[in-house]
Each structure stands twice: as C-alpha cells, then as structure tokens.
Symmetry: C3
Subunit: 263 residues, 3 copies
C-alpha cells in the first residue's frame, strides 16, 4: 500500500476562521501534488465520539493508501500523544484520544503499526501549543503522502486510547440500542446494524414513544411526513421522516434509547 497523495481532513474547526485552509497551505507547501478531501469540519467542538463515528462511515470508500487526518483535539499541547496508525488499507493521523476507536475496532489484527509521533524533523519549525493541526499533524500527513515511512516519525507503540463502543444489548426477542448520530436531514442513525436484525421476519422499532412497524427500503416508500425505519447507507438501522426531520418531529437527541422488538 503506497500513499497516493490523497489526504482527508476531519476537524471541528468550522470553515469561518481559515484554520482548515491554513492546514492545506502547509500540506501543499510540502507536497504540491497532494489531493485533499474535506470529510467534515462541522464536527461539534471537542466531540471526539462524533468525529470517530463520521470517519468510521466513510474511510473504507477511499482508495488504498489514503491518509486520513483527524484533528478534534481538546487535549492539544498536553501530554496526550499524536499517532500514526497504519492498517492494511490506509494511514490515520490523529491525536491519541479515542477518535480512531471505530477504525481500531474494524481493523483488529489488520493494524500493522502504531507510531507515537515525536520526531520534530517533520514538523513546522515553531509549534503553537494550541494548533498542532497546522504545526504537527498537517506536515506529518504531507510527508507521509510523499512516501516517508511511518517509522521515520517516531517510535512504534503497542496501544492507543479507545472508548467503549456503545453496543446494542440483546434480550429475549428484542434489542436495545441508542441514537448514535443525527444527520443533516434529521435522520436518526442508530448503533443497531442490519446484521443484528437478520433472525427476525418482522420488527417494530421504538424511539421517543413512537413505534414504527416494519422496515422501509427507501424514503419514497413512505408518505410525506410519515415516520419510517430503514437501513441507512452504512448498514445502520435508522429512523427518518419522509421529506421532513425525525429530530424535529420526535424531539430526538444523540443517546436516545432505540428498542427493536422482533419475531
């Protein structure tokens, strides 16, 4: 897996202040041939869980050798480590704060190396203690994209910080999970997956005192304004309002309980 020069960026910087743009300036200064894709910069401030989730839904769709840079970093400048994680498919560059939890969970034994970034040779000459995105992470990602091997950036380590993934609980004929993410359309994505539902012929989904009978295949199968359950694009059980917002209609929030009753 050789780097392809493709770098994705996921941050909580927003676009108003230019902090994303300046990272791209640093990257292009080091690798003028880089191609940079914004994955999301609208992660809620300091919301590591949300960044981890958004990254987890998309990274598999990028070509092998893509470098995924994640800067949601409330511990910037502290003793928290900065890591390069190399899998069979991709390279991840991120603070060691759990933001790669899903990646690690998915990859398991396919994680090849974890490097503790410590070699200042590949950083900008002056490091602001509050903007490692610009001064450490961006130049490291850029040098990686040129083919500098991960070992050049620091020592190999054996572990990294992960948070416990909120797992759906299975009971007698039922599953209890949570709303894991609410997307731009107000759709509620859960931590219950299609594979969890395979043993049942019929299901009911309950969220916020609403019961939905059966799964729709598409939004268009429901009537305008109807609450439907369906399988979203990363195989998650999800709840939507047709041409509307389930978040607004149901008053739903991330963390809300979702119950599936099957038979």
């Amino acid at each position: 897996m050789k780097p392809t020069g493709l770098i994705t960026l996921t941050t909580d910087f927003g676009m108003q202040d230019g902090n994303v743009g300046v990272m791209k300036g640093v990257i292009y200064g080091i690798n003028p041939q880089a191609r940079i894709v914004d994955l999301s910069h609208d992660i809620e401030p300091q919301n590591i869980t949300q960044a981890a989730f958004v990254l987890s839904r998309h990274y598999r769709y990028f070509p092998g050798g893509t470098i995924h840079l994640v800067v949601v970093d409330p511990g910037v400048g502290s003793e928290r480590r900065a890591l390069i994680v190399q899998t069979a498919q991709a390279l991840f560059v991120a603070p060691d704060n759990g933001v790669l939890t899903y990646v690690v969970h998915d990859a398991r034994r396919a994680i090849k190396h974890i490097i503790d970034i410590s070699n200042p040779e590949f950083w900008l000459p002056y490091i602001s203690p509050v903007f490692h995105g610009r001064d450490i992470f961006a130049p490291v990602a850029a040098h990686l994209s040129l083919g500098v091997p991960p070992f050049a950036f620091g020592e190999e380590v054996n572990d990294l910080v992960t948070f416990p993934l909120p797992q759906a609980e299975r009971g007698e004929g039922k599953l209890k999970g949570q709303v894991a993410h609410i997307d731009r359309f107000g759709n509620l994505l859960t931590n219950i997956y299609r594979r969890d539902l395979l043993s049942w012929r019929e299901i009911k989904v309950r969220v916020r005192n609403r019961e939905i009978v059966g799964l729709s295949r598409t939004y268009a199968e429901g009537q305008e304004g109807e609450v439907i359950a369906y399988i979203d694009s990363s195989e998650e059980l999800a709840v939507a309002v047709v041409n509307g917002s389930a978040r607004d209609l149901l008053g739903a929030e991330v963390g809300d309980e979702v119950e599936v009753v099957g038979q």
Copy 2:
C-alpha cells in the same frame, strides 16, 4: 467536447456528515486526476427547485466538457430514473426529478443525448437504496470524466422530467413575477430578467408593499440601509438592501410576488 476531468457537485447533504467527502473518495478512486468543484451542498433538504436554480446560474461558466453532478434526490432507490444528459457544452448527471429543468430549457435543441443509467458495470459493487450519490452517481461521473462514452452507461431515452418554470406574466405596462431565490446576503432574485425590461425607460418595482423607483447599477449607488432594485449577475431583476438584508428588512420569502410597472 471531451471530458476535462472537471466535475461539479451540487447536493443537499450539507458538510457535517461526510457524505460529500465520501463521494469524492469514490471519484478519486476511479479517476485520480479528477478535479472536483463544490457548487453547493447547502441546498435545502429535498428542494429540487432550488438546486435547479443554483445550477442554472453557474454551469455556463465552466469549461466545455465539465461534468455537473446533482444529487438532490428524495426519490432515491425508487423507480425514478437516473440520467446522463449531454449538451453541446457539458454533461449532467442527476436523478430524473426536474433538477435539470433550467438546463433543458436553456439547451432546447442543443441536447444531444439523454441516457437512462442502468449498466451496473460502472457502479460500486454494493448499492445502498438510500445513497445512490455514493454508489451510482459518483462512480458514473468519475467514469465519464475518464472518457467513457455516455452510451456505455445505459439506453438512450427521449424525455425527462421537468417542472413548469415560473414565468413572469406580462400585462398592460406591467409585469408580475416572483422571488425565485434569496441569496446569502438576503438579496431577492426574481424570475424577471433584464431582457423583459428593455422596452421601458423608467420602472418601479414593488415587493412586500415596498415600491422602489428605478434601477441601481451597483450596491454602492444606494445609501446604507436603502432598498434598491438592480440587475443581478445572471441578468435577473433583484432587490437588495445596501449593506443589509432585503429578506430580513422586508420579511420576504421565495415565491413572494414581484410587480414591475414600466413606461
């Protein structure tokens, strides 16, 4: 007209969830040389009319051979078709839901081919019924950008869905139109065009009980806070508040009646 590798994206996905980024990952996986331009991802959810309007104002300014991909697609996964529309100038890839209405209206006989996308050879191997943007549209656009001819993607068809364009009505010494779009500055863009006004020496514009006498050439011709009428950058009659928001000051909305009295 050969594809140039330039692809524009217009969606209602927003930037928070990474759904735009993943489409770019798919495109770069197929055509590493593609150049991708975001036209807008802040189309209101499911607002086909708005997407059609935004696309209509800009596509002419892109180099010949540009591929314009539009994914505002409430009917995703249903029987609605997915189309490639080839004009003398450009290629459009979109669901068949009216989002190309202005393009078709502008091009008339210059539409060369309409292809019903049906050949899964150019799609991702697994298709989510709720994210054709990633699984069908992005790979089709990427293959088109490599020079795969439109006919390879499916059968030619003769028609596509369009909606009736809201036309200004001409009366005795007057015109009645509507607010067609409100931009980021709160300027009101109408469906009355410069050419509609050429026969008059003087005009008055009425919207939301406000009457504006004459056209300003620039914002700077008015006083701070003044309501002015002017010709916007795609030749539309428009109403603005100098260094302010006509939407906020007048309480205006898309669809509001706009009357021009001329002599």
Copy 3:
C-alpha cells in the same frame, strides 16, 4: 518568486448559492492546473475588517508564490479600484477597500508593486457590475497563476486604502486592547500580542467583568468550564472557556475592551 498555481479564496459569499464554485469554474477554465484552497467563505457580509484579520493570520503559511484572492467587496462596480499587490512572498488580488491592511502593515518595505487592475484583456468578456469576483478577480488570479506578470494587468500605483489598525494602548503597568475576532469555538482573540507581555512576570486579564489570573499554555491546563487566558496560534492573547464558549459564557462581542494588568 514564481507563481505555483496555488490560489486561496476568501469571500463573504457563503457556500449556498454557488458563487464560490463558479469562480473556481472560471479559474479552471483559464488554468486547468490551478490548485485552489478555500480560506474562508463565511466572512460576515461586507465585513472587510474580519476578512483582513482572517487573511492576516494564515497567509504566511502558504508556499511562496501563492496568490491570495479576497472578494469582500461592498463597493463592487463603483469607482473603487481593484488591485494586485506583490510582496516578496506572495501575490494578493483584492478590491482596494482596506482588506489588505494587515498584509501591508506586515510587509512594509517588502511590498514590491501595487497594480491598478484595468486591462480588460484578462477579464471575462461580459462584466456584471455586481459580481467582479467571477468576471474580473477570478480570471485575473487565474492568469497570474499561469505566470502572466502583474504589470500586464494595469498601471503601477503608489498607494492603497488601509484602515487604522486597532492598537492596544499601553499605560502604567497595563495595556488596553480589544476583542479582534471570535472563532468557531467561541474563543476571544485580542489585538494584544505575546510580545506586548514580555516585560511582565505575572499578568491579569480582564474582559466583560471577568478577571483571569495568569496565562495557561494549553486548554487542557484548565478545568472543564474554566475561563482561561492563553496565547493563540498567531501569537494573540486570547480568552477561552475550556470545552466551552467564552463568547456564550461571557456574552462577549468583537470590539469588547480587554485590559491586561502586569507586574
């Protein structure tokens, strides 16, 4: 300093209307090899001061020869000039309205040339009086990025519009400055700089009736919810709430007085 094909864009256009995308279409039509970086498009409408500040924090981090295009232009179409400013490091293209004030202040004698853009040979054939970004600035930046020398675009001039930089006032053992910018996290960036504080061993920072004793090096040094003062990534004294928003907690606004008492 040869142009590298790298162009940054800073505007108040937002992303919803496609006005940024169309500028990129014009640029790619002229220079297909251009690389374009969005610095910010969420500058408040007509807020020249904010655009000047955002640009000032980032331009130094781009490779030599980068072209920085700024279109925050309430005077578009009026007699205000359009300029190319060449420094030892970079090229700036902008309306002559003060948006380059910090650049000029930083560069002083390093400004090599100021060109009044007047040669329509490098513009689009038809010029909308309300969208010079698309019709004049974008094509000028694109031609510059191809290596067309600045002199080809118009006559050299000797001056440009700048606004007085809000300077911190030094008193007996104290400094008075202002909040210059509030970022996405709600952090308050001031016009007091690290160098202004070097003579003191201990400082207190006062803003909105809140007194903060001492400087934190990182956000993580404070407790969750604590108000801290620190040096931000462009050497500005700044005030933050750890994992929160100083803007929201303190009700702060741009222009608020900030006082530093030192000893």
